[in-house]
């Protein structure tokens, strides 16, 4: 079967323009999503770049512009990936890469330079994108990030191969068809622009899905798990300990004199105190810890595999830090379950009794409820 390179280039441009248009529309709809604009602009830049490059023989300067835009595209996609993963995106490497491609083109004008520079910079950026997605994607988005990373890896390999494609008319062209490199590049470009569009939409959708699930599970004020989510996750952690016959501790923490704080200094001060405590609380997170806001000023933790001594140590450290840094104190109640009889509701009730004792004994202390 023979294919026609001109037709493929035409299809490539058609796909590029269309995808850029769709992504721009999507950008309007989903504005505010991290990474979206660099991604959209990156795909658009690569498209316009290949359009300009295609006009290189006709319009003076178009080849250079095309090369610059084609090298800018993957760099912007990298910036989008950094944004998406919550990392900074330095502009310097982007400028440097575009400048290097432009400089090479000016120093050694010619189709070979353009091909080498554009392909190598695209390959390098693809590797950078893969690195960002694999290293920095949030844990719960790993699946989608890995898929996208695989795609960009493929793109990098393709670009690397492309750098050494023979130029049209050069000796060593294989397969008896002069145009195969051009045809292959166009086909690759179509394939990758469609795939990029899916990758961008997929990653953003996955992010939104996660945010939506979080919104239903977290407490708006403190960002900790809300009561229901805490009970779900806590029960799961307890089940884990129960099956392995390990102890498991529940720590309840309660801000001292919170009502008085609220009454005398207002709700805003009360909220600030809750947030400050939640921040300390979250900083004390550790391996497998489940932490949530259990009620008004009450916070709860499940510490898997912790015996009484470890739980007491954890709570005591937190208590001391709060007492030292904040203008309020907190009381703690601990209950430890062992063996097969671990039940979250029962443990919370026992920790609550210990907490009550801590309050009765003068607050700002840790009490343990013995089984």
């Amino acid at each position: 079967m023979t294919v026609d390179a001109d037709t493929l280039v035409f299809l490539e441009l058609l796909a590029g323009v269309e995808l850029a248009a769709v992504l721009l529309l999507v950008g309007r709809l989903l504005r505010g999503e991290a990474g979206l604009w660099p991604w959209v602009l990156g795909v658009a830049s690569a498209t316009i770049g290949s359009l300009a490059a295609a006009l290189g023989d006709v319009v003076p300067g178009a080849a250079l512009l095309g090369a610059l835009l084609m090298s800018l595209g993957p760099a912007l996609v990298w910036a989008g990936a950094r944004d998406h993963c919550g990392r900074s995106r330095p502009l310097l490497p982007i400028f440097a890469s575009v400048a290097a491609v432009g400089g090479a083109q000016l120093a050694f004008p010619g189709a070979r330079t353009e091909q080498l520079a554009v392909a190598l910079s695209a390959a390098a950026w693809s590797v950078a994108i893969v690195w960002t997605l694999v290293r920095h994607a949030p844990a719960h988005e790993r699946t989608g990030a890995r898929l996208a990373a695989g795609l960009f890896l493929l793109h990098g390999v393709f670009q690397l191969a492309r750098a050494f494609f023979p130029l049209p008319g050069e000796a060593g062209v294989l397969l008896g068809q002069r145009d195969w490199p051009r045809a292959l590049v166009a086909m690759g470009s179509i394939f990758f622009s469609v795939a990029w569009a899916f990758a961008v939409l997929g990653l953003i959708s996955q992010r939104l899905l996660g945010k939506m699930r979080d919104a239903a599970r977290t407490d708006g004020l403190t960002g900790l798990l809300n009561r229901r989510a805490f009970l779900e996750d806590g029960a799961r952690a307890l089940e884990f300990c129960r099956r392995r016959r390990r102890p498991c501790a529940v720590v309840l923490a309660d801000l001292d004199h919170f009502k008085r704080l609220n009454d005398t200094r207002g709700h805003a001060a009360g909220d600030a105190a809750l947030r400050a405590f939640a921040a300390e609380f979250a900083r004390a997170a550790g391996d497998g810890l489940v932490q949530g806001r259990y009620g008004g000023e009450e916070f709860a933790t499940v510490i898997p595999r912790a015996d009484e001594a470890r739980a007491r140590e954890w709570a005591e450290a937190l208590r001391a830090r709060v007492a030292a840094t904040a203008d309020f104190t907190a009381s703690f109640g601990i209950a430890v379950g062992t063996g097969a009889e671990i039940d979250l509701v029962r443990l919370i009730a026992r920790a609550d009794e210990a907490l009550y004792r801590a309050k009765a004994e003068g607050r700002d202390r840790v009490c343990v409820q013995q089984a």
Binding site: V3, D6, V22, F191, A195, F198, S205, A216, G266, G296
Partner: protein, 383 residues
């Protein structure tokens, strides 16, 4: 510039497969989403249909024609079904059951008894166009209000595809054997380019629509209390402040009620937290509908709720609070056959020109006095 039709056919098949794969992967990443399953299945059918088209001349032609085109119709039907799902409308496969046999019979007839490519193109276009129009109509008419704009993108894409199917009826066709379909000719090239462009546009627009729905659902979830479905604390603070400011601007009075379920901890301890949660939901179901449509009602946290009543003066606010208190006492929560009596203490504050925070704070003070005074009562704030 002359286009090489077999090249377009090849890319059509490749891109079709890629679109279907992309859709399946995105679908797999997102899990269960209304509309996604049928869409992904439809995309897969269409891509197999496209590959079948590319195999012409290599495989016996009659079964290929029937399978390839039949899958196209099944694919569009699935896209339609997914769109109905997406828009929350009922769907049925009766139209497919009615449409597919005559469609296949027509193709079979014009492939064997009276071989004619032109006739088959007509059968194909007439069989596919209605589905495109049905999908477009679903998106234009039945899309949820907040997605109306983004649903227009796939709507327009499908409408365009349907119209092109009809336009194609009037384009010149060459030859009678299927292999002729791959001969150069602008009509063929145009038809394939159209499919190439619309398949990309429709598939990406559908994924974008899914993403947009997720965005809207997220915005909604971020404002909703997961347990009761009421406004959550952040949302009630925004909405309440807006309502109060609106009243202040129009010199209307505005009342704020802070409601707190009595002895909630006791319910939790005695009946378990599931019963406590159910009591909160019960309370929300009870109070929400008995407020006016313009009132703003939400959960501040724990067992504390707030209602903002724009335009309500002292007497109205007091009356409403008293009515709510009685309603709650008279309607206990029932969990698994156990009746749990409830009561509520309510602090009421009203004023004109006061800020939302100030009103809530005064209502809160009144609420504490209601609690101190023995609970199950309405106390008005001192001015």
């Amino acid at each position: 510039m002359s286009l090489h039709v077999p090249t377009i056919a090849l890319m059509l098949a490749l891109v079709g497969v890629e679109l279907a794969l992309g859709f399946l992967l995105v679908g797999w990443m997102l899990g269960r989403q209304r509309g996604l399953g049928p869409w992904a299945a439809g995309a897969a059918c269409l891509s197999i249909g496209g590959v079948a088209w590319g195999l012409r001349g290599l495989v016996p032609e009659v079964p290929l024609i029937l399978v390839g085109n039949g899958l196209q119709m099944v694919g569009f039907c699935l896209l339609w079904a997914g769109s109905r799902d997406f828009c929350g409308r009922p769907r049925s496969f009766v139209p497919l059951a009615l449409g597919l046999p005559p469609f296949l019979a027509g193709l079979f007839w014009f492939a064997t008894a009276v071989p004619s490519t032109r006739a088959r193109v007509i059968v194909f276009s007439l069989g596919i166009a209605p589905w495109c129009f049905a999908i477009a109509a679903t998106f234009f008419r039945d899309a949820p209000a907040e997605l109306r704009l983004s649903a227009r993108i796939p709507g327009v894409a499908f409408l365009f595809h349907g119209i092109f199917q009809l336009v194609r009826l009037f384009l010149p066709q060459e030859g009678t054997s299927p292999v002729d379909l791959l001969r150069p000719g602008w009509a063929q090239a145009a038809a394939m380019l159209e499919i190439y462009v619309s398949s990309m546009a429709t598939m990406l627009a559908l994924v974008a629509l899914l993403a947009h729905r997720l965005l809207i659902e997220f915005a909604h979830a971020a404002r909703t209390d997961a347990l009761t479905g009421l406004l959550n604390r952040r949302a009630i603070e925004e909405e309440g402040a807006r309502a109060v400011a609106l009243c202040a601007g129009t010199r209307l009075p505005c009342a704020v009620l802070v409601l707190d379920l009595d002895h909630f901890k006791r319910i939790n301890d005695a009946h378990g937290h599931l019963a406590g949660d159910e009591a909160l939901r019960h309370f929300a179901r009870l109070v929400g509908p008995s407020l006016r449509r313009t009132d703003v009602f939400g959960r501040l946290g724990g067992e504390e709720f707030v209602a903002v009543m724009p335009g309500a003066d002292a007497a109205e606010a007091r009356g409403a609070a008293e009515r709510l208190r009685q309603l709650v006492v008279e309607t206990p929560s029932v969990v698994e056959g156990t009746t749990i009596p409830l009561s509520v203490s309510i602090g009421v504050a009203w004023g004109a020109g006061e800020s939302f925070d100030a009103l809530v704070s005064r209502a809160d003070d009144a609420l504490y006095r209601a609690k101190d005074g023995g609970r199950n009562r309405v106390i008005e704030a001192v001015a």
